[in-house]
Symmetry: D2
């Protein structure tokens, strides 16, 4: 079986670096696959691609490079083991050489820093950018002799954008590209379009609009590719969707559920920008009502705390009412490393997307709902119910004769 390509949007970021360091460390036998859902005994029945069969590349808008980032994570943020980073230095440099300039509309806190490798995208017409990005994917596949190339968006969160009729159908969306309507096409949409159009499975790990426009899903279905998103569920929201059923099935009424997220790092900095934060808040706040059956008073606050680096702390305060309307509370404090929580999920999604594409599936991979805060086309938000969707999928495919499977995208 050919190797699988993993093309990361935001390849110079903390999450991308952690995913690469971890994959290579595991491949070299230097680390265990803790945190990978695809390594659970329950998923053993699926013939997933090995972690050592993944080849990384990607787009970046910033010139510091993936090795530099990995070292910073090890030395400044205590979020990677310095020994591991040193051990996979060559692997990181190999990935570094495959990186290509990303596309950025300019402005915003995640815009390329001065001297960055981005193609002064501000001036590159959309249609030309799509072609360039698509060619990058094509070249990656050919150069590395890859089967499927899975594209994963792990870039900084974009501000939300109102979807209009132009985003509804593929024809009208293409006209946006032709007419260079930059105010209606965000980079994440452009990346998604370029990926799907070239037959690459696409996973939107961020809350950016990415895969949201119906027009883009139409590309996926037309080109017979799988895709999914949005916004990896790694911390506070994960806890919420795990805890909510307690209240649901004990018939305890949640009066208020207040969540506060303190985070530093690049992610925190971007989210300190109110417009960008908006996207995140949207995907975070929608999970309670489906899980509880009603919408309690709930706020989600995100504060940028630079000293936390790549670590985040979330405090949730849940005020609920029990028998005879007695008020009681539960609080939780989640302290985790953002990129370390997310990286194994990215690898899981790559493996599961490659498999789905290999066995001929098309369209949204709803069985992956448990990985996302805002899973496309799935109304279930309780974590364990979402896990069940995945386990059911495994069961359906467990006995399948995979020799009939078509080659990857």
């Amino acid at each position: 079986m050919a190797k699988t390509g993993v093309w990361l949007i935001g390849a110079g970021g903390a999450l991308a670096s952690t995913a690469v360091v971890g994959t290579r460390a595991i491949a070299h036998g230097l680390a265990r696959p803790t945190g990978l859902v695809t390594e659970l005994p329950e998923l053993r029945a699926l013939p997933l691609i090995g972690l050592d069969q993944l080849v990384f590349g990607g787009w970046e808008v910033n010139s510091r490079g993936i090795l530099h980032q990995a070292r910073a994570l090890a030395h400044d943020h205590r979020s990677l083991n310095p020994g591991l980073v040193a051990a996979v230095e060559d692997d990181l440099l190999a990935v570094q050489r495959r990186l290509q300039p990303g596309f950025a509309l300019g402005g915003g806190p995640a815009a390329p820093s001065r001297g960055a490798r981005a193609q002064r995208s501000g001036r590159e017409p959309l249609e030309k950018a799509v072609a360039r990005l698509g060619d990058d994917l094509q070249r990656f596949r050919e150069d590395e002799r890859l089967g499927t190339v899975v594209v994963v968006n792990v870039a900084s969160t974009e501000p939300p954008i109102a979807l209009g009729p132009e985003h509804a159908r593929l024809g009208s969306f293409r006209r946006l590209l032709q007419e260079d309507r930059r105010e209606l096409v965000t980079p994440s949409m452009l990346y998604a379009y370029a990926a799907l159009e070239r037959g690459c499975p696409y996973v939107n790990f961020t809350p950016s609009p990415g895969i949201t426009p119906p027009a883009l899903r139409e590309v996926g279905e037309t080109r017979r590719v799988v895709f999914y998103g949005s916004d990896g569920k790694t911390g506070e929201t994960l806890m919420k969707t795990v805890l909510a059923p307690l209240f649901r099935y004990r018939n305890l009424e949640v009066l208020s559920w207040e969540g506060v997220n303190l985070l530093g790092g690049g992610d925190g900095q971007v989210l300190a920008n109110p417009r960008h934060k908006q996207s995140k808040l949207r995907s975070k706040s929608g999970v309670l009502a489906p899980a509880l059956g009603y919408a309690p008073h709930a706020t989600v606050a995100i504060e940028y705390v630079p000293s936390l680096g790549n670590w985040k702390t979330a405090w949730d305060f849940i005020h609920f009412r029990g028998f005879l309307d007695t008020p009681m509370t539960v609080q939780f404090i989640w302290q985790g490393c953002d990129s370390v929580l997310a990286a194994p999920l990215v690898l899981d999604l790559v493996r599961l997307a490659e498999f789905a594409q290999r066995v001929g599936e098309v369209g949204p991979m709803t069985h992956l709902a448990c990985f996302f805060k805002d899973p496309l086309g799935v109304r279930i938000s309780a974590f364990q119910d979402q896990v069940q969707l995945l386990l059911d999928y495994v069961e359906r495919h467990a006995g399948r004769d995979l020799t009939q499977a078509r080659g990857g995208g």
Copy 2:
């Protein structure tokens, strides 16, 4: 349909008082049935007995009385609304009049205080006690013209006792009674025997040995009665069995799970006694391994903090390892009112036991696992999987023609 009797062991305690006040308040339209699992839409398909059809009585070893207890809960512990207690005063007095002296072996922190109503049980032979207790149940049923009488143990936790061959078979257990072997028969066993022997469904809401001896289950099966236990799952352990699947299905390795329970009230006082605490710790500590698939370092501490009264606070510290062995933590703080959390579950169990008995079931009600810390004969400890057992049960019975149902025990 005849009314259903609820015979409480420990009828003068905080839990019993809360259950009675709540049931009557709901029956009078003064309170909503928040916290009752049996009021969930998912259970509507079961024709359960109405809360206003429950008649309460019970045994107590302490003379203060249920009205006194309810007032103390309202005024001293802020755990019942004083207005509600005042509104159901007559109902409480009616229950008070039905209370009968319990059985206590003497010694221990929960022993009857001086001048208490207990039948100087220390001298009452076991066999005579069984007959007396059985007669109490009989009289209650007749006097109140009840269908089923469900017996629920909500008394203070007993110390654990090693089960031997004498507890294995009904014959040998009966010999223990005949020979008055008081060191091998705890009050909770005696109560369970008396109840089952008279055909009354029996629910062991405490961690006391109660229903544990196989000999007692044999009585249940012989007399064709349903029964279940042990130890109602209301707080910290509930949280554990809700949270554990997060780690399980994200493949995050729990390194340590340390739990601290601060509680006051009568329960805290009894559990401050190391031997009694042992029973509680047993039922609390067994839940992680089945849910996680391995046993992490885990301690469960219980501290008696008198000032907390009927309230409890639990702090759990969970140290886990994610991708690349990165250590992270989650902590939770649960602040609840013990009796208020437990009371609706007692009512749920009464209704569900009455139903099971009515439709002709016999033996352990494993579909009620989600209510218990240590569910008899069920290895599943994850909360949502236990809930599924109940939902499946409801589905099986939803379409059932209940006109064929036999009358209660």
Copy 3:
């Protein structure tokens, strides 16, 4: 000695009701003076006025009344004992009869509800209002044959206002009144002016501008009255000023100090309004730098959580750096009842203001800094250093021959 009047601005609010219920309950021997700083052994040397010598009255802009409020606190918010409220019902009604319509400029969340007793203040000219309010104080003193009348502002927080040259001198401020410049004179300024002008000690327990304008302090000094503020220090900020010295004197560098305040009740509702919240945030955020010697990254968030009623929960996350720049954290969670925390301090301030006035002091009572978040004219913010100011004051007055004391304002 004549009795002392306590004239409350916002007399129908939760804090005012709690202060009255508590004072009368203590006077009747129904409660202990827990929470009163003036009952500490260290303050015994000061011949303070007895709690049973306080007579309450005040202004209100809302018609529900103080008894109604006290009952709501007892029954809806679990923040007053229902038995106590019932026991002092007559006292509450007596206070209720002394209440007079307040002054409100209209608009804002704390504005009088329809049908309220406020003198349609929107149309009442400022100068006329001052005269009316002053007459209220005069009449109260005469009717009740009081010595001093201490005026305490416990009304809802006003939005901040930029002080200009008009607020700098008494002359120009008086012109604002004459010219009815309502955009430059907030109600709290008007109340302060009316009080001081009539020789009544004035305490600003809220973060409203109240006593801030230099012109108002000039009135105080001219009329030889004592005054102080602003913003009673009862919870999160108190904790901050207690904890900060730990970091200061262990030479641990605070990197970030993030505070989140969840509060319901009328206070929460008013503070949910961004303009009003601004005043609160100002007084809360200034305490760290003086105590630490530098300003760490620090945010203070206030969220309105209606279900909390009169209770508040604060979570503070402190990220600090120790030896060799090792990052560590402390977090605290404060759960208290707002009005219950504040009420005894109001009584302390009344007693200490009456004493200061009695012994002939004039101007800002800087020895009361420990009671306030933003103590007028005191740069010390560490709690214990502020306490020392009070203890030093007590020492200075302990041996004083008080027969020379002049009569109160």
Copy 4:
């Protein structure tokens, strides 16, 4: 001025390693002196010895060595920066070469591992051991041409021992040594005796009996040496003594103060032993009553959680009563690195002990109370009052002509 020797008892432990790494890193300009009280501006007036003038040596009962320990702290426990450890490797090896075998009575969790360097102390007579240990100090001073040698006990906690008349006077204590009464003389006493007898200032940073016997203080006074202890105040207890005054000076009644300490590492392991834990609990539990003026219900729990390594987490739950007996709570969570919190204090104590000895002081250094949980001869436990003792001391010595100072012990 001659250099100062720092002779560590338990020189191979985490705390000792951290102190040495830190001192050398600061001396090399690789780290800032964060966490050192002696670097506060308030202490600048004291002419303390420079950190680069400290020479380290010590006793150990375990053979792994200080470099091995430092690397483990960096790589396994995330409690030292790997780069710093690498940078001071030579310094660590130099210290390693100066280490001498310690004295251990055998048994107990902190006893030397097999093959360790300890002088099979089990058989070494006490009197001979004293001479050997004293000679070690003498040789260290001569070899390194040191002024004072300050001996600091940073070894594992010993179990408590009942002090009898034999410990009361120097004569009788010497007889214990002569008669080899090993059951009455713990290693920490032997070390203290050896140090003081040779004129070396002695600091007991652990809760071990060390300096407690009056006989040992008599040696100190006779030999005109300074000494102090016991048990460095670094975390939960520090927080307690900082927070207690809040309740004291707001007249809030603490009902219960429950503390839970989770710790791993060698310290946790030793304290998991109930007898050893006893010493720790004693020094921790005594601080509330002096600070509050009464003893609330208070438990202090210590749990050994191996996965925490050198980190500790403490959770304290404080239940208090405010106005009108309203119950409220504060909780705090302290997450710190044990050795990193303690190391700078050890350096502070060395510098301040050297200074005190230099200026001719003798006996217990009560001005250092703020560094200890159980400060010898000081009843004040509130942190800020203890800090004041130090600041007063600085003020007394600030103007002193130090040319008169005698040479160090």
